[in-house]
Structures are given as structure tokens and as C-alpha cells.
């Protein structure tokens, strides 16, 4: 294919990606070092209140945004260097807390709190998703042919549901005297308040995430199970391998590329955890890195979006993405080398 034809085919897609992905990245990078603020001016205002005989007047100094001739607020952009990063990281408070060995001190800073939850969430759900996915795939593969279709249909539901709605539906099962809270209370014979502390909320979020992603893993592993070499399974039986050994020595190694694929996709997606915080309304207790950026971007009570702080926290989030990407890119590169 000539370069010109290739460019004509690929051009529109590349243009969109450059305009809406590459350009915002550069713009975020720039914004993280600059702050745009409205200019303020101080004016003297004389307030007079009518009184008996004379009116009482007092002057006070007010600050208000400066307006240009069209009545728009004048803004100015200043280069602030690493100030936005400092505002997000709050290193001084962090080091004081580290020196005092105060874990709660570290956890009172939003960024470190979000980082702690994001990493823990990612690492805890990973083995659960792979394990449950494998187990579900094995039992589906074990079931009668006739019921596999309906079972896969049911399994797809948690995967396909809107993440916010999925988190909400789990939330409603537990909220207040929700049905599962009632069940747990009856079983443990004690009163539970699942939304009153961070760790129970985190458990529910992890439960939701495993419920949401395990079907994806299961379907991919199930497809992989169809291509297991039956001959090697039979020779293993002749050699006297029991079921567990066959699973461990033949089936799992056969599925290994798929397990790595699922693990990488899962790492990337859970590192971006966000919808759980919205669905469980957990921002008072638990927040994630992406939610932190989102929070900076939503207007506060005064209607101001802290764009530069959001950009700084976004850039910090990207460091983790870069680390996660290295093995994936290495693998793709190796595959590419292998095929050419």
C-alpha cells in the first residue's frame, strides 16, 4: 500500500487522536505549571444608611474581580513552577507525619489517601478477579452444553452494566437496612453500620469490582479452555496425574498468556478506579486518584474550578500509568519482532 493511500485511510483517525488526546496531554502538562486567575482590584465603597437628621456613612474596602469593557472578568496567567504540585502533594505535612510515625497524619492528606486506596484496591482485586474468573470458566466448561448459553448470558450482565449503576445496585443492597445488611446482621447477631467507616466501604467496593470484572476474565478463559490440547490431557491421565496436577501443569500453563492479558487490562482499569467512589458516595471516607482530579475539576462553592491543581494531580496519576505500561509495551514489541 502506498503511503498516500495509507495516510488517506488512517488520516481521520490520527487527526482525531492528535486533536483530542495528544493535544489535551500537552495542554495539561502546560497547565500544571501555570495558574490562571481573575485579576482583583480593591475599591473604596461608601455605604450610607439613612438615619435621623443625618445619614450615617461608612467607607469600606472591597475586593472584586476586574472587568473589561465588555463586562467580562479579566484573567491573568502566571508561571508558578512546581507550586501546583506542592499544593497537591503537601510534602511538608507528609514529612512531618512520616517523622511522627503518624499513619493517620499521612491519611489526612488527600493525595496520599487517594494513592493508598488506589494501590491497595488494584493489588487486592487482581488475584481475586483472576482466581474467580478461572473458577467460573472451569465450572462453565464443566457444565452441560445446554445450560452454557443461559449461564453466559447471566454472567455478561454484571460486566455490561453501567459502572455507576452497578455500584449503586450493590450500594442499595447494603444501604441502611438493605437486604444484605439485614442478612449479615442476622447471621452475626449484631448491629452493623457498613457506611460509617472506611474499611467496610472499601470491602464493598472491592466486592463490586470483582463482581463486575470476573465475568470478563471468565469468558476469556473459557474461550482459552476450548483450545486446550486434549492429547496432552490424556497422556497426563495415562502418566497418572490427578485432576489438580492436570489443572496446574497443563491447563494453567496453556492459559498463561490469557491470564497475563487479563491481569494487565485489569491493572490498567483498576488504577483508574472512579465510578465506585460516585456509586458508593464514599468521598467522605475513601477517594481514588482519578476521583481527586475529578473533584478539582468540578466547580467548588464559589464556582471556581482549580484547573492547575487538577492538571498537577493528573500528571502525578500518569506516573503510575507509565510504570504499568512498560511490561505491556515490552510484550507488544516482542510480538512485533517475532512476527517480522
Amino acid at each position: 500500500m502506498k503511503f498516500k493511500t495509507f495516510a488517506a485511510f488512517v488520516g481521520p483517525s490520527i487527526f482525531l487522536m492528535l486533536l483530542f488526546i495528544a493535544f489535551p496531554l500537552i495542554s495539561v502538562f502546560w497547565q500544571s505549571f501555570n495558574v490562571t486567575q481573575p485579576l482583583y482590584e480593591q475599591i473604596e465603597v461608601e455605604n450610607c444608611t439613612p438615619g435621623f437628621l443625618t445619614q450615617t456613612c461608612e467607607t469600606e474596602i472591597q475586593t472584586r474581580p476586574m472587568l473589561d469593557e465588555n463586562g467580562d472578568i479579566i484573567t491573568r496567567t502566571d508561571f508558578v513552577g512546581l507550586q501546583s504540585y506542592r499544593n497537591v502533594l503537601e510534602m511538608e505535612r507528609f514529612w512531618t507525619a512520616v517523622k511522627d510515625w503518624s499513619w493517620s497524619g499521612i491519611q489526612s492528606i488527600d493525595f496520599w489517601k487517594a494513592l493508598r486506596f488506589t494501590l491497595m484496591f488494584t493489588l487486592v482485586t487482581l488475584p481475586l478477579v483472576v482466581g474467580f474468573g478461572l473458577a467460573i470458566a472451569l465450572v462453565i466448561n464443566n457444565a452441560a452444553k445446554m445450560i452454557r448459553g443461559p449461564v453466559i448470558f447471566l454472567s455478561l450482565l454484571p460486566f455490561i452494566i453501567t459502572p455507576v449503576i452497578g455500584a449503586l445496585s450493590i450500594n442499595w443492597l447494603f444501604r441502611g437496612d438493605g437486604i444484605l445488611t439485614a442478612l449479615l446482621e442476622w447471621w452475626l447477631a449484631r448491629d452493623l453500620a457498613l457506611f460509617a467507616q472506611a474499611w467496610t466501604i472499601e470491602l464493598m467496593m472491592m466486592f463490586y469490582r470483582v463482581w463486575h470484572v470476573a465475568p470478563f476474565a471468565a469468558i476469556i478463559f473459557y474461550a482459552g479452555l476450548q483450545t486446550v490440547n486434549q492429547d496432552s490431557l490424556e497422556s497426563a491421565v495415562i502418566d497418572g496425574a490427578n485432576r489438580w496436577q492436570r489443572l496446574r501443569l497443563i491447563i494453567v500453563p496453556h492459559l498463561m498468556p490469557l491470564i497475563i492479558f487479563v491481569a494487565m487490562i485489569h491493572l490498567m482499569d483498576t488504577y483508574r478506579v472512579f465510578e465506585e467512589v460516585v456509586g458508593f458516595r464514599s468521598q467522605g471516607y475513601v477517594i481514588s486518584l482519578q476521583w481527586l482530579t475529578y473533584d478539582f475539576l468540578t466547580p467548588n462553592e464559589a464556582g471556581i474550578r482549580s484547573i492547575s491543581r487538577a492538571s498537577a494531580s493528573a500528571m502525578l496519576t500518569m506516573i503510575g500509568i507509565a510504570i504499568l505500561l512498560v511490561p505491556l509495551l515490552k510484550r507488544t514489541w516482542r510480538d512485533h519482532k517475532g512476527t517480522h
Binding site: 448459553g149 454484571p158 474550578r305
Partner: protein
Amino acid sequence: MTAKALRQPAPLRILSNTFLAFWCLIAAFPIFWITVMSFKSPVDAFDSNPLNVIFGPATRADGSGWSVVDIVLGLAVVYFTARLSARHLPRLVERYSPKGWTVLGWIVAALLVGVGFVVVFFGALPVVTGVLNPLLGPLGRDVIGATTEHYQTVWVDRGFSNNFKNSLIVTAGVVTVSLTVGTLAGYGLARSGSTLAFWILIIALIFRSLPHSVLVAGYLPVFINSAEWLSPILGENAPTLYGKPAAVIAVLVAINQPFTIWMLRSFFSNIPADLDEAARVDGCSHFKAFRLVIMPVMWPGVITTGLFSFLLAYNDFLVTSLLLDASNQTMVPAIAGMFNRETTTTDQVVAVAAAVSITAPLFLLVMVFQRQIVSGLTAGAVKG
């Protein structure tokens, strides 16, 4: 080797099937339960006794409920809709849609079935049962308390139909544009095999992994001030991109591109290159070969990719909630606003009804396109 040696002992089979049943229960239960809750009065919906939630005594006491006749007729309508869409719909679409416009045929068919179902289920059925119930005595008496008033509140009073319309605009736009752009790019990448194509794919992979909040942080200030910096080009009518569905469509298409081109490339790689080479030998240009030879055989891959584009646009919360303002909000951010504001339990049940309304189209989607979704998931994985 006989099958006997591989046959599993009974305890293992029982264990395996128990686990399977347990998984099915976990997978379906939350969705089933919120559906049940959405039809009950607040007292029943948040009752701690599950039987009260299912049978809804308080709802029945309020005078709204379903009799045996209602349930039988309702289930019949649901069953025939499901049967129609699973069995006959694909054939009807194949027959009546013009050649090369199968996708459009599917959209029209899905809309027709959806509207038909709503009309029959909520419009015609109450009239029929209203006549039948008094005639049939005990069969016509309410056994399960249920009410559709929360759906009425959501769709009519809270203006959810407006949000639905916005969701429809955004998803339709995203699916059409991203498939058009992505199909061309996927084909080009599959047939090129140059180093440049490889690097484009690698960069797309990096782009796919970016958190969406990072990108939105880049758009927001630019979109809010767009009237200012677009005015030298467009003059007085330069639009403010913030709050425009078209801008959100462009953003979601771009975010979706990396995934779309990877997926479509793998589908096009499976179409033998001999096909278009033969057409080229006969004197077609690349574009003509694409139009005449590739387009007729590419629809399975395009439909599968389209499903995933649909899901991305339909399920998105972050981008739409930050880039659209309240007047043209889509459904998912709207419901988040709804449950954040809620104060009474009635508001909560209304939010539950909204959640079920959002989930229902997805449920139908899985029902009709189960095979395509599974093939899409595995195609991505097997190719890496």
C-alpha cells in the same frame, strides 16, 4: 482413551454445579433485586424482610398490585418480545434492510421493538387487565403489591425522557462517527504492515491507558473559553464548546478510537488479503476495492466493535458529567445528581426506578447480541 477415565466423580460434579448455581445467583441478584424494588412503595422497597420486598404488602394495601391475570399476561408479553427479538428479528432485518445498510436496519428494528414493547406493556395491557380482572373473581384479585408510579415520576415529572433523548443523541453520534473513522483506519493498518503502522498502534495503546480525567482536565479550560479563541476564525457566532453534545461526541469518539482501531484491525487481518488483491488486479483503486469487496464482508466485525463503542458512550459518567451542563445532561450523570439530592425514601425508590430504566436497554442488548459480545471479547484477547 475412553471417556470413562476422564469422567468426574459425583462429588466433584456436584461441587462444580453448586458453584455454578451460586455464581449465577450472585451475577443476577443485584440487578433482579433493584428491579423488584423499583415496583414497590418505599416502605416495602427498603423492608429488611425479603419476603415483604417481593410481595409488597404495604404497596398492596395502597391499592396497587398485580393479580394472577396481570402476571400471566405480563410474562406472556415479555416472553413473546424476547422470542421475537431472539428468533425472528435477525431474519426480518436481513430480509427488509437494503443491502449494505444492515446496521441501520438493526437500529430501526431495535427502536421499533422498544417502542412496541412500551406501548403494549404500559399502554394496552392495563386496559385489557382492567376489563378482565373484575370478571375473573379470585384470579383477578391482587396477589403481589406493585406499582409503576416511580417510573411515571422519573420519566414524566423529573424529565428523564429529556436525559434519555440526550443519551440517544450522544451514543448514536459516537457509534456512527467512531465506526466510520475507525473502519477506514483499521483497514489501512491491517493491510499496511509498515513500521509506521506498528508505531501508530503502539501510541494508540498508550492513549488507551490514559485516565479520562487527565484528558478532561485538558479540554475543560479550552472548551469553556472556546468562544474567545475561535472568534478570529469563525467571527461573531463562535460557539462555546462547553455543554455542546457535538463536542462531547467528538471527545468520546477520540477516546474510543484506540480501542476501535485495534479491534477492527484484528477483524480485517482475518479477512484474506487475496480478496482485495484480486479486485486490485481487476483494476480497482484501494478505495474502490474497499467499497466493493471488503464492505460486504466486514459487518460482523463492525457490529461487534459498534456494540463496544455503544457501551463506552452509554456508560460514560466522567466525561459527560464534566463537559455537559444541566440542560443537556445524559442519563447516567443525571441519576447521580438524583441520588445525591435524595432526602426521603421515596426519592431513593425513584432513583432505583431510574437505574432500572438505564439498565433495561443493556439487558436487551445482551439478549440480542450475546454471541457478538462474546466473540468481541475473545477476539481482542486471542490477538493480544
